[in-house]
């Protein structure tokens, strides 16, 4: 077989090829990463499993005798908290694969030699990981709608869940990418991220939450997941106003700002090949 490479002809569209970094390089990366995430089946499988879990919880809260004692507001709160927890978990896991996974699959170097900046690559990957949270939230909407009928909190619950969940997802997604950038192997990165999630979610799984007292209050407020869920509860269950317990959002906000800022600052140093990777 003879392979022929044609030189670029004068007057063909090749002449007008832009060879500068696209204005929205991050958007191109985000688009492709999201497509890979969803068309590969990873995202859809996780979402399917989540919808089964959510269906089970919704069914139980509606029909089970013991859980039926929950007020409607509490049922909505439970489902929203579950959505935030699972959505943030999958966002973290997907972002933990973002850089270390590309390194292991040998696809990172090809990306590094394009004109797209390393910050744009990171931004694109973070946005793609956040689509997991957005999809999780979309799946949750009908369940919240069913549970919130008659108590007039549907709009408030959805807005609250979306805002708080997005804030936590940005923070933990950024942490996931930071972990992925510094880890030598993908397994280490994903394992470290799951361990982090375990630490953050453990207090929320205690039968009656953390014990009372100033120490545990500080502990709750220091945990971005626990404090975000506490904020949702205070509004949906206790009927507080949005501004009354804003202090609960300090940690999620700080986490998103610091982790996001660290990504912006350290991005160019994180998106790199590890020494000795296939170096000959």
């Amino acid at each position: 077989m003879t392979l022929q490479v044609a030189p670029p002809d004068v007057g063909t569209p090749q002449d007008s090829r832009a060879t500068t970094e696209p204005q929205a390089g991050w958007l191109v990366v985000a688009e492709q990463e999201s497509r890979d995430l969803w068309t590969s089946g990873r995202g859809l499988i996780l979402l399917f499993l989540f919808s089964i879990l959510l269906s089970a919880v919704t069914y139980l809260t509606s029909t089970n005798q013991a859980l039926n004692f929950l007020e409607q507001r509490e049922s909505v709160n439970l489902v929203l908290q579950l959505a935030v927890a699972v959505g943030v978990l999958v966002t973290l896991v997907v972002s933990a694969d973002g850089i270390s996974g590309e390194r292991e699959r040998g696809t990172l170097e090809s990306l590094l030699v394009t004109p797209v900046s390393r910050r744009s690559i990171i931004a694109g990957k973070l946005i793609a990981a956040l689509t997991m949270w957005f999809a999780t939230f979309l799946v949750t909407i009908p369940y919240v709608w069913v549970l919130a009928r008659g108590v007039g909190i549907l709009g408030q619950a959805l807005t609250l869940g979306f805002c708080v969940g997005t804030l936590v997802a940005i923070g933990l997604g950024s942490i996931g990418l930071l972990i992925s950038g510094v880890c030598n192997s993908n397994k280490t990165s994903v394992a470290a991220s799951l361990f982090l999630m375990l630490i953050l979610f453990a207090p929320t799984q205690l039968p009656s939450g953390l014990p009372q007292g100033w120490f545990f209050d500080v502990l709750r407020r220091a945990n971005p997941v626990d404090s975000a869920l506490a904020y949702i509860s205070s509004i949906l269950v206790n009927g507080h106003s949005w501004t009354q317990d804003l202090s609960y959002l300090i940690t999620p906000l700080l986490t998103a700002t610091i982790a996001g800022g660290a990504l912006v600052l350290a991005g160019p140093r994180l998106v790199r090949l590890m020494p000795g990777v296939n170096a000959g």
Partner: protein, 321 residues
């Protein structure tokens, strides 16, 4: 007039106390194919990563197409790279893959689509544009990688082991493609490979690396000459003409002729105490000419010590000064 497109000056890369590349210098011009040779761990991949801005040199300097190393963005716009053991997203099709990279270089969706189709045809994959990359053979993946390296119409194309793991037919296809890239696109090709005979055939210049240093550089002839390899040859003639051939060769005073054991129709020729210089080559040429002039049919004649592989093995088996 061809211009210098790659200029590396005393490039050095250290990982802690370990030196991956030390004072590597060479140049390449437009349309030239430069073979970057060396044993595993010699620093070929590191050199390519330095020149493509993936790694930052510890010291030294380089320029690509006139852009200094201080402008990595400019350099990335004018180079195409096929990394060693490049991975491919299994779920993407060949067309999607190229369209994605085309868009990373700022092309619109429609431009990216037409360019991807054009490049897939260029590398002979037009019939598989819609197939997932996971269904491609290794050779097809390498050709897809080369297509991706051409997506920005680069001034310099870096190909790191493009024939690794390919069968002879696949190697021939890739080498043919490389030759055409340099000729038709007037691009400089920096080729890292272990296929020495092919390098000898394709490359106009070679750089031999050993322990991160340049052990030899220049045209193939210059490198062989630098290696100063003792030259010898084997000559095979019809069995009934062996004695006559020995008599003819006896007329060359500095040529030693020996019978090869268990091969009565083959004699070995060696030049006494000479290296590979113009004089010794002349002696071999003259000896061969004398044999043919005497009407002795030459069934086989092979010059040893005059091939790139001989120079390569000599240079990489010795400590670099």
């Amino acid at each position: 007039m061809t211009s210098t497109t790659v200029e590396a000056a005393r490039l050095t890369k250290h990982y802690g106390s370990r030196s991956a590349v030390e004072n590597v210098s060479f140049t390449a011009s437009q349309g030239e194919i430069v073979g970057l040779l060396g044993p595993n761990g010699a620093g070929k991949t590191t050199t390519i990563r330095l020149l493509t801005t993936v790694l930052v040199p510890t010291s030294g300097d380089f320029s690509i197409a006139g852009h200094p190393s201080t402008s990595p963005g400019e350099i990335r716009r004018c180079v195409g790279v096929l990394p060693e053991s490049s991975g491919y997203p299994a779920y993407q099709t060949g067309g999607e893959y190229l369209r994605f990279f085309a868009r990373l270089y700022g092309l619109s969706r429609s431009q990216a689509r037409s360019l991807a189709a054009e490049l897939l045809a260029t590398v002979g994959l037009e019939g598989r544009a819609g197939s997932p990359i996971s269904t491609y053979s290794r050779g097809m993946r390498q050709r897809l990688g080369i297509a991706r390296a051409l997506i920005n119409d680069p001034v310099v194309v870096f190909l790191d082991e493009p024939t690794l793991g390919l069968d002879p037919a696949g190697q021939a296809q890739v080498l043919d493609l490389i030759r055409t890239i340099a000729k038709s696109r007037a691009a400089t090709v920096v080729l890292s490979t272990h296929l020495l005979p092919e390098v000898e055939e394709v490359c106009s210049k070679v750089v031999i690396l050993h322990h991160g240093r340049v052990a030899g550089a220049g045209s193939v002839g210059e490198v062989i000459k630098t290696a100063l390899i003792e030259q010898s040859a084997t000559l095979r003639v019809p069995l009934d003409r062996v004695e006559r051939a020995r008599n003819v060769l006896a007329g060359f005073p500095n040529l030693t002729v020996d019978q090869v054991a268990e091969q009565p129709d083959v004699v070995s020729l060696s030049i006494d105490g000479a290296g590979t210089d113009a004089g010794s080559s002349d002696v071999m040429n003259a000896a061969l000419a004398a044999i043919t002039a005497a009407g002795i049919p030459v069934l086989h004649f092979e010059l040893e010590g005059a091939r790139l592989s001989d120079a390569f093995f000599k240079m990489t088996s010795e400590a670099v000064a």
